[in-house]
């Protein structure tokens, strides 16, 4: 593995190996001195063409705790506003001797394209509606810590699937780890061709949250972007909440201790009620600390060791 662009880049063994490394990295977080020398002398650039707080901070801390030199480039709008092509923008940055490029971009496929232009290891930190592989890894890692093996476990992913890179990465990651996945959304927020896709990829689809929740071993809520509400995807916030939100009443449908995930930021009262977000089984904050461990593991495997990097 030279880059991490998609969950599809990883074998099941790769994922387990990353989880093992992440567990070690988790231990580092509990140390008084949170520093490993693994990436000393390596330079990582976080190149974010889109706003992000948690993902950018997570990658920044991960790199720094591994002793890499980390630079943040807020590239939002730069290539478009100044007329520079994406290729020229990333080549300019990488000409400064970059070993790792963490890229967030509002366009699907941007990380894939960038990986073809540069020599640095590229980590996809979210590309448009395509993928967010480290988010999927941290979600699965978090759930594994709660459920043990994911083999045969039933995970419900609920929300705006069409526009969600988190969903696209998670459905691959969870099924690869043996979980049974059901995705739930109104028909207007189901990606085109999902019937054929789900049949080929081995996951299920549903429009009925109430039918899915009682059987779920884990629930993953997706953020509804407020700008979608004017796009005729659904009639109103109220109707969405009634139909697809994890409300207080629906919390009662869940089996005891079923972990509740959300990639954040949460729209409390829209896709997730405060009661659910703050419930004892909510793992939202744990996802954040898991994310740091996962990103440390990813950077370690890509950039430490042999010049070629890769999972040893």
């Amino acid at each position: 593995m030279k880059h991490l662009l998609s969950i599809d880049d990883l074998s099941t063994d790769d994922i387990h190996q990353l989880f093992e490394t992440a567990a070690d990295m988790h231990d580092v977080q509990r140390r008084e001195v949170k520093k490993l020398p693994a990436l000393r002398g390596r330079t990582v650039v976080n190149m974010f063409f889109e706003d992000s707080t948690r993902t950018r901070s997570s990658f920044e801390i991960a790199g720094k705790w591994l002793s890499a030199d980390v630079i943040n480039v807020s590239a939002k709008g730069s290539s478009a506003s100044k007329g520079e092509s994406l290729r020229d923008t990333v080549l300019t940055v990488c000409a400064m001797g970059v070993d790792g490029l963490v890229i967030r971009h509002p366009a699907s496929g941007a990380a894939v394209q960038v990986s073809e232009w540069v020599d640095a290891a590229v980590v996809n930190a979210g590309d448009g509606m395509h993928e967010h592989p480290t988010q999927a890894l941290l979600d699965a890692y978090t759930l594994q810590r709660h459920l043990g093996s994911l083999e045969g476990r039933h995970v419900a992913i609920i929300g705006d699937l069409t526009h969600s890179r988190v969903f696209r990465s998670n459905v691959q990651c969870l099924t690869r780890l043996g979980a049974r996945v059901t995705v739930v959304a109104p028909p207007t927020l189901m990606p085109s061709g999902i019937v054929a896709w789900s049949a080929a990829a081995g996951f299920e689809t549903s429009y009925d949250v109430d039918a899915v929740l009682p059987d779920a071993d884990a629930v993953m809520m997706l953020r509804v972007q407020r700008e979608r509400m004017s796009g005729a995807f659904f009639p109103s916030a109220r109707e969405y909440t009634v139909g697809y939100g994890l409300t207080r009443n629906r919390l009662a449908l869940l089996k005891p201790d079923v972990p509740i995930c959300h990639p954040g930021p949460m729209n409390r009262g829209l896709e997730i009620a405060a009661d659910a977000a703050d419930a004892a089984q909510s793992v939202v904050l744990e996802q954040v600390s898991s994310g740091l461990a996962i990103r440390m593991a990813v950077l370690y495997h890509l950039l430490a060791g042999s010049p070629e990097g890769g999972i040893a």
Binding site: R87, A107, S108
Partner: protein
């Protein structure tokens, strides 16, 4: 200069000699002192006519000029191209159209016929000066906002009505903007769902085609549908043509691009913007429907939608990259590859005769017979060409065929009696004297 073409297979039939006098006309008897070309084994077709070319001049001469586009056209076997109006400034006045026409004459390699915009600035609101463009020296008869759809039904109706006065035709880029959103860049289907690319659904084309054929019937005017890409559009066109055959009051024609006859949407899996085109590449079932429709005459013509782009305009994230691909130099080879059973007479029909009729180009698409203007292409039917994008005459390199082998090879092109391409290479350029 007079010319004798010896032993060419006319439209794939038995060999014959073609005689061209120094006025650029086919004649009965070999002119004295004529240059002789041995065309044994070569198929002779009327020079190809492209209803849909983007030459980028004025405005983006870094991507293409009328001269380089003309060179690419000649190498592809074309003797006439229709230059689309979405230049900068837009070809929406008589002066702008005349300038394009003049630059084409100066290049002298093919007849460059400007297409006029339907609406001012391609804004879709007010009609451009359609009549003045028609009355200009350029004699514009085809009007299109290509790149954009004339989506307002009232404006489309008025355009169709207005051009009736002088036998004009409106060429529609069928894309309902409310169904294919502003970012739409990929056929809407399973692949766009998985890749997270904004979908461009076939229905966005089909509803406009359906609407426009009804408007064509209502107005009794001439509608041409540009770059048809879906099986659903084919069904609508088939129905419309059947109806038109009954009452005869409407005239609907359509074109398909070479790339929609051979390439499929699967190619977008790697996010390579070379394959980003508008309308998007579609799945195999649409490709099959388009091939069948071309063969049975439901689709009338092949048009390249030659769309050169500077390299940096394609080196953006897929959603942000420019739409379009090159096509002039490869069109014949793609058609031969996609439809190997199509007769040479049918190739001539869809790539020369019918396009010339639609565009109203009296000197083009004519029989290879005495009295006709000598526009002819000679093709080696047994050769194949491995495409090298760096060998293109175009200033751009967005060539989806790079490295692919295509059937047949354009050997010579004769425009107005003069060799523009000899042995697969450009002959010396010169001013067109006709």
């Amino acid at each position: 200069m007079s010319l004798v073409i010896k032993g060419a297979s006319l439209l794939g039939e038995g060999p014959a000699d073609l005689f061209i006098d120094d006025t650029g006309t086919f004649v009965d008897i070999a002119p004295s002192g004529a240059e002789t070309i041995d065309a044994a084994g070569l198929v002779a077709l009327p020079g190809l006519v492209d209803l849909h070319t983007h030459l980028r001049e004025p405005g983006r001469e870094d991507a293409e000029t009328i001269l380089t586009g003309s060179q690419a056209a000649a190498l592809g076997g074309y003797t006439a191209v229709l230059a689309m109006a979405n230049t900068s400034p837009v070809t929406d006045t008589a002066e702008a159209a005349t300038r394009v026409w003049e630059l084409g004459r100066e290049a002298g390699l093919v007849h460059v016929q400007p297409v006029g915009a339907v609406t001012r600035g391609l804004a879709g609101e007010e009609l451009a000066e359609l009549g003045l463009m028609h009355r200009s020296r350029a004699g514009v008869t085809v009007f299109s906002d290509d790149g954009k759809c004339v989506h307002d039904a009232r404006v489309m109706r008025r355009a169709l009505e207005y051009v009736k006065a002088f036998g004009g035709v409106v060429s529609q880029h069928a894309q309902d903007p409310s169904l294919a959103g502003p970012s739409a860049c990929c056929h809407e289907g399973e692949l766009s769902g998985r890749l997270g690319l904004p979908g461009w659904p076939g229905i966005a084309e089909e509803v406009i085609v359906a609407r426009d054929v009804m408007l064509a019937r209502h107005t009794g005017s001439r509608l041409h549908v540009a770059h048809v890409s879906t099986a659903g559009s084919v069904e609508v066109l088939r129905w419309a043509k059947a109806q038109a055959g009954r009452d005869g009051h409407w005239d609907v024609t359509a074109e398909v691009t070479p790339h929609h006859l051979l390439l499929t949407s699967d190619l977008l899996a790697g996010y390579d913007p070379t394959f980003k085109v508008n309308p998007p590449l579609r799945p195999q079932e649409d490709v099959e429907a388009l091939r069948a429709a071309l063969a049975d005459g439901t689709i009338d013509a092949v048009a390249t939608d030659h769309a050169p782009h500077a390299r940096h305009d394609k080196e953006h994230a897929f959603v942000d990259a420019a739409f379009g691909m090159l096509g002039l130099e490869t069109a014949l080879g793609v058609v031969r590859t996609a439809l190997p059973d199509l007769s040479w007479a049918d190739v001539a029909r869809v790539m020369s005769v019918t396009p010339a009729r639609i565009a109203g180009l009296a000197d083009q698409g004519r029989p290879l017979a005495p009295g006709s203007p000598a526009n002819v292409v000679l093709v080696d039917p047994d050769a194949s060409v491995t495409v090298d994008r760096d060998a293109s005459a175009s200033l751009s390199r967005n060539n989806p065929w790079h490295g692919r082998s295509l059937s047949s090879r354009v050997v010579h092109t004769v425009y107005a009696g003069r060799l523009t391409v000899r042995d697969g290479a450009l002959a010396q350029a010169g001013a067109h004297s006709s």
